[in-house]
Amino acid sequence: MISPFHPLQLALGPAIWLAWFSAMYGGLSLACVAAPPAPEQGAYTWINGVLLAATLVTTGLLVYWTRNCWRAPLTGDGIERPARAMISRVAAGLYLVSAVATLSVGLTVLVLPPCV
C-alpha cells in the first residue's frame, strides 16, 4: 500500500468504490446475458453470491485502509507535518465513506433477484 500521506490517498477510497460499483453493474449485466438463473430462485443465486462476496471483500479492504490512514503516526517537520495530517485524516474519512457506500449498495443483493 502506498504511504498514508501520499496525496493519491485523497482519491483512492472513492476510486475503489467506483471501480467496485462499475464491476458490480457490468458483471451483473454480463452474467445475466451469459447464464441467467431462473427467476423463481429469487435472490439466492450464484450471481448474487459472487456479488455479495465482492461487496464484503471490498468493504473489508476499505475498512482496513481507513484504520491504516487514521492511525498512521505523523512524521516530517515544518510545513510537511500538518500537510500529512490533513491527507491521512481526510483519506481515512474517504475510505470510511467508501466502505459505507459499498456496503449500502451491495447489500441489495440479499433481497432482489439478479436478472428480473
Binding site: I79, I87, T108
Partner: protein, 778 residues
C-alpha cells in the same frame, strides 16, 4: 415557452419551433451558460486566490475561449435560421438519427457542442495544473481556499465526465454523415448505448455545475459571518466524495428503459448516498451562520435563497431516486420542476451572490441597495411560483416537451400560475442585471477589501492589474488577510517573492503540489495570435462539415494541425520565448531547465481526458458485443490481421522503452548522442505505423455494414492518430536538440505520449482480437 403553455390550445409557437426552442433552451443553459460561466469565474479568481500572476497556460485559456465563442455562435445561429436542433437537449437516438431527423438540425448540436466542449476541457486542464503547481510559496493543501478545492474537483470531473459525450457526439455525427452504424439496431448497434454515454456525462454534469457554486457559498458565508468556516476538512471530504459518487448515478436517468431491478437498486441507493456529502456541506454552512455574526448584504440574500431552494430540490431528488416513484413521474413536469430547483437554486443563486460579492474587485465600486433587493425578491418569488406549482402539474400527469394541451385535464390553472411566475422571475432577473450594469457608473467607490474578506484575491488592486500582484506572498495561512493585515501593502511594495521585472519575463512561482514549497520559477508565455487563428480554423472545419463540404473540412483540419504544431514549437526553452534565462543567486531555476515543468502536468491531465474517451469507446465495444439485440460478426476471419498487428505492437514497445531510456540517461546527466537516438526512435515509430497500416489494409473491414466493423474502424483511426503524433513529436524533439533549444522537461512530455500510445494500442489489440476469443463470435 411558458407563454405558449399559459393557456390550453395556444398557437404562439408551432410544434416544430417549440421543439427547437425547448431543445436550445436546455442546450444553451447547460453548455453555453452554466459550465462556461462557472469556469470563467474560476479562471478569473483562481490565480488571484492562490497568489499567482496568471494561469499557467494562458494561451490554452485563450484557445478555449475562442472555441467557446465560435462554437456558441455556430450553435445559436441555427436558431436564427430556424434550423436549430429539435430532438431535446439530450439528443436521444433514434429520434436524432438521420432517419427521423434528416435535416442538419441535429448536426448543429453534435458539431457545435463538440466544438464548445474543447473549451470546457481546455479550461479544466488549465485549472487543475494551475491549482496543483502554481500556488504561492508555502500554500500547502491545508491552506488552500475552499473554492480551490471545489474547482479542483470540478475540473477533474470535467476531465473524466466530458469525454464520453464527446465520443458519443462524434459517433452519432459519423453515423449521420458517413453511415457507420453505432446506434442503429438493424446493423448491430443499440440506441441505448447513446443513453449510457450521454448520462455518463450528464449526471456528473449536474455536480460540475453545482460544485463551483457551492464553492462560492463556502467562500462567501465565512466572510459575511466574519468567522472561519466550520469543518474545513469535512467540506474537503464532502466535495471529493460528491465528485466520485456522481459518476455512479447515471442510470437513474434510465430507470424506465428496462434493466434488471437489482441493477436499478444499485443506482437507486447510490443516488440517495450522494445526499450525504451534500448534507455535510449544508450543515457546515448552517453551523458557520449559527456561530458567526451574519451581515445581510445583498450577496447573503442570494445565499439564503440558494439554501431554501436547493434543499427543496435535493429532497425531490431523493424522491426521484426511488425507482417506483421515478416510474410514475418520469418525463413529466415534476422532473422539470426538480431539475430547475437543483440547477437554478444550486447554481444561479450562488452565482449572482458571487457576482455581487466580487463586483468591487472587478470594478472598484460597491453594489447599490434597493434595486438589487427588488431583483432578489422578484426572482425568488417568481421562481417558486413557477416551479413549485410545476411539481403539481407533473403529478397531475402533464408530460414534458408538449407544445400544448387540452382543457379539462386539471392543468389549466397550474400552467397559468407557472407562466405568471415566469414573468415575475424575468422581471427580477432584469432588475438584477440592470443593477449590476448600473453599479459600474453609479456605485460608490469601494475601499480596499470592502467586505473584510480573508482570501488573497482581495490583496490585488481593484480593478486588478494584468499581473495581479507586484510581488507574491507567503501563503502559509488559511486566512492570510485576517491573519496579516499588512500583507497587501507589503506585496505592493515588492517585499515578497519575485518582485524583479527587468528580465522581461512573465513569471510566477512553481510549487510542490502538497506542501507548497517553492520548486521553480514558471516562465509564462506571452501574447500570441495562434490560439485565435487555430480556433478560427477549427470553426471553418465545423462549418464545412455542416455544409457537407468535406474537402474544405479536410484541408482546414490539416491547417489546424500545422498551427497546433507551430504553437508547440515556440514553447519551453525556445529562444524567442525565453531570450533572457538569467536568475538571481539563490532563486529557484526556471521551469524550462527542470524535468517537471507545468507542461508535464498539462500533458498528464490531458491524457486523463483522452483516456476517458478511449475507455468510453472500449465500453461501447463491450456493451454492443454483450447487449446489442442484432449484433453480428461479419465473416469467419479475425477482424484484424494478427501477425502485422502484433509485430507493430512489438515495435511500438521497443520504441517506447527506448524513449524512456533516453529520458533516464538524460536525468542521470548523460546527454551524448541524444539527437541520433531520437532519430532512430522516429524510424521505429514510422515502422510501427507502416505495420499498423498493413494490418488495417489486410483486415477487410466494411465499416458501413455493421456496428462491429464500424467500432473497430474508429478504434484503428484513434490508435493511428496517436502513433502518428508520437512520430511527429519525436521528429520535432530531434530537431530541437539539433537546434540546441530543447528543454529537459519536453522529453518527459513526449515520453508520456509514447507510453499512452503503447497502452491504448495493446488495449485495442486485446479488445479487437481477444474479446471474440473470450466471448465467441456472437
Amino acid at each position: 415557452m411558458l407563454s405558449q403553455l399559459a393557456f390550453p390550445g395556444q398557437n404562439i409557437l408551432t410544434p416544430e419551433i417549440y421543439n427547437q426552442v425547448f431543445t436550445m433552451h436546455g442546450t444553451i443553459m447547460m453548455f453555453l451558460f452554466a459550465v462556461p460561466i462557472l469556469e470563467g469565474v474560476a479562471l478569473y479568481l483562481i490565480p488571484k486566490m492562490i497568489g499567482a500572476r496568471d494561469l499557467v497556460f494562458p494561451r490554452l485559456s485563450a484557445f478555449g475561449y475562442f472555441c467557446y465563442l465560435f462554437g456558441g455562435i455556430i450553435l445559436v445561429s441555427s436558431l436564427v435560421f430556424g434550423i436549430a436542433p429539435n430532438s431535446g437537449w439530450f439528443m436521444y437516438t433514434p429520434l436524432s438519427s438521420s432517419v427521423y431527423s434528416p435535416g442538419i438540425n441535429s448536426d448543429f448540436w453534435l458539431l457545435g457542442i463538440t466544438f464548445v466542449e474543447i473549451s470546457a476541457v481546455s479550461a479544466a486542464v488549465e485549472l487543475v495544473v494551475s491549482i496543483m503547481r502554481t500556488r504561492t510559496a508555502n500554500m500547502a493543501l491545508q491552506h488552500m481556499p475552499l473554492f480551490c478545492w471545489y474547482i479542483l474537483v470540478t475540473s477533474l470531473m470535467i476531465i473524466f465526465g466530458f469525454p464520453p459525450l464527446i465520443l458519443a457526439s462524434i459517433l452519432l455525427e459519423v453515423e449521420r454523415a458517413a453511415g457507420l452504424p453505432f446506434f442503429e439496431v438493424a446493423r448491430g448497434g443499440d440506441p441505448i448505448l447513446w443513453q449510457h454515454l450521454f448520462w455518463l456525462f450528464g449526471h456528473p454534469e449536474v455536480y460540475i455545475i453545482f460544485l463551483p457554486a457551492a464553492g462560492i457559498v463556502s467562500t462567501l458565508l465565512p466572510v459575511f459571518s466574519q468567522r472561519p468556516i466550520v469543518g474545513y476538512r469535512w467540506l474537503v471530504l464532502a466535495v471529493i466524495t460528491t465528485g466520485f459518487i456522481s459518476f455512479g448515478l447515471w442510470v437513474h436517468h434510465m430507470f424506465t428503459v428496462g434493466i434488471p431491478h437489482l441493477a436499478e437498486a444499485f443506482f437507486s441507493v447510490a443516488s440517495m448516498l450522494v445526499a450525504i456529502p451534500t448534507g455535510i456541506q449544508i450543515f457546515a454552512w448552517l453551523a458557520t451562520l449559527w456561530t458567526g455574526r451574519p451581515v445581510f448584504h445583498i450577496p447573503m440574500l442570494w445565499i439564503l435563497g440558494f439554501l431554501v431552494i436547493f434543499v427543496a430540490g435535493g429532497l425531490t431528488g431523493v424522491m426521484l431516486a426511488l425507482v417506483p416513484f421515478d416510474w410514475q413521474v418520469h418525463d413529466t413536469h415534476f422532473v422539470v420542476a426538480h431539475m430547475h430547483y437543483v440547477l437554478v437554486g444550486g447554481m444561479l443563486f450562488p452565482l449572482i451572490a458571487g457576482f455581487y460579492y466580487w463586483l468591487p474587485h472587478l470594478s472598484g465600486r460597491m453594489p447599490a441597495g434597493a434595486l438589487g433587493r427588488w431583483g432578489f425578491w422578484l426572482t425568488f418569488i417568481g421562481f417558486n411560483l413557477t416551479f413549485l406549482i410545476m411539481h403539481l402539474t407533473g403529478l397531475l400527469g402533464m408530460t414534458r416537451r408538449v407544445y400544448t394541451y387540452e382543457t379539462g385535464l386539471g392543468w389549466d390553472l397550474p400552467n397559468l400560475v407557472s407562466s405568471v411566475g415566469a414573468f415575475i422571475m424575468a422581471m427580477g432577473l432584469v432588475a438584477t442585471l440592470l443593477d449590476l450594469f448600473l453599479h459600474f457608473r453609479f456605485g460608490v467607490r469601494a475601499k480596499s477589501n470592502p467586505w473584510n474578506a480573508d482570501t488573497l484575491e482581495w490583496a490585488t488592486d481593484s480593478p486588478p492589474t494584468s499581473y495581479n500582484f507586484l510581488s507574491l506572498p507567503d501563503g502559509d495561512a488559511r486566512h492570510p488577510l485576517w491573519d496579516r493585515s499588512d500583507l497587501p501593502a507589503s506585496m505592493a511594495q515588492g517585499q515578497q517573492w519575485l518582485p524583479r521585472a527587468d528580465h522581461g519575463r512573465r513569471e510566477t512561482l512553481g510549487s510542490d503540489p502538497v506542501t507548497g514549497r517553492v520548486r521553480e520559477i514558471i516562465h509564462l508565455p506571452g501574447n500570441s495570435w495562434l490560439p485565435f487563428i487555430t480556433a478560427l480554423v477549427l470553426a471553418v472545419v465545423c462549418v464545412s462539415l455542416l455544409g457537407k463540404n468535406h474537402v474544405v473540412a479536410f484541408v482546414a483540419t490539416l491547417i489546424g494541425l500545422v498551427l497546433l504544431l507551430r504553437w508547440s514549437w515556440e514553447n519551453g526553452a525556445h529562444p524567442r520565448i525565453e531570450p533572457n534565462t538569467s536568475t538571481l543567486p539563490g532563486d529557484p531555476p526556471l521551469h524550462s531547465r527542470t524535468f517537471d515543468g507545468p507542461g508535464v502536468w498539462g500533458m498528464a491531465v490531458a491524457l486523463l481526458a483522452n483516456g476517458a474517451l478511449y475507455l468510453s469507446l472500449l465500453f461501447g465495444w463491450l456493451y454492443l458485443w454483450a447487449v446489442a439485440p442484432q449484433w453480428r460478426v461479419p465473416g469467419d476471419m479475425p477482424p484484424l490481421a494478427a501477425t502485422p498487428s502484433l509485430l507493430s505492437g512489438v515495435v511500438l514497445l521497443v520504441a517506447t522503452v527506448w524513449f524512456y531510456g533516453v529520458l533516464r540517461r538524460l536525468r542521470a546527466g548523460a546527454v551524448a548522442r541524444i539527437q541520433m537516438q531520437l532519430w532512430t526512435i522516429a524510424v521505429l515509430g514510422l515502422l510501427h505505423v507502416l505495420l499498423l497500416a498493413w494490418a488495417w489494409w489486410r483486415s477487410n473491414l466494411v465499416p458501413g455494414d455493421s456496428a462491429h466493423d464500424a467500432v473497430i474502424t474508429v478504434m484503428l483511426i484513434y490508435i493511428s492518430l496517436h502513433s502518428g503524433f508520437a512520430l511527429i513529436m519525436t521528429i520535432m524533439q530531434a530537431l530541437r536538440v539539433r537546434l540546441n533549444f530543447a528543454g529537459p522537461y519536453e522529453l518527459v512530455v513526449v515520453t508520456q505520449w509514447w507510453v499512452y500510445t503503447l497502452v491504448v494500442y495493446w488495449l485495442g489489440v486485446i479488445a479487437i482480437l481477444g474479446v471474440p476469443l473470450a466471448w465467441g463470435s456472437g
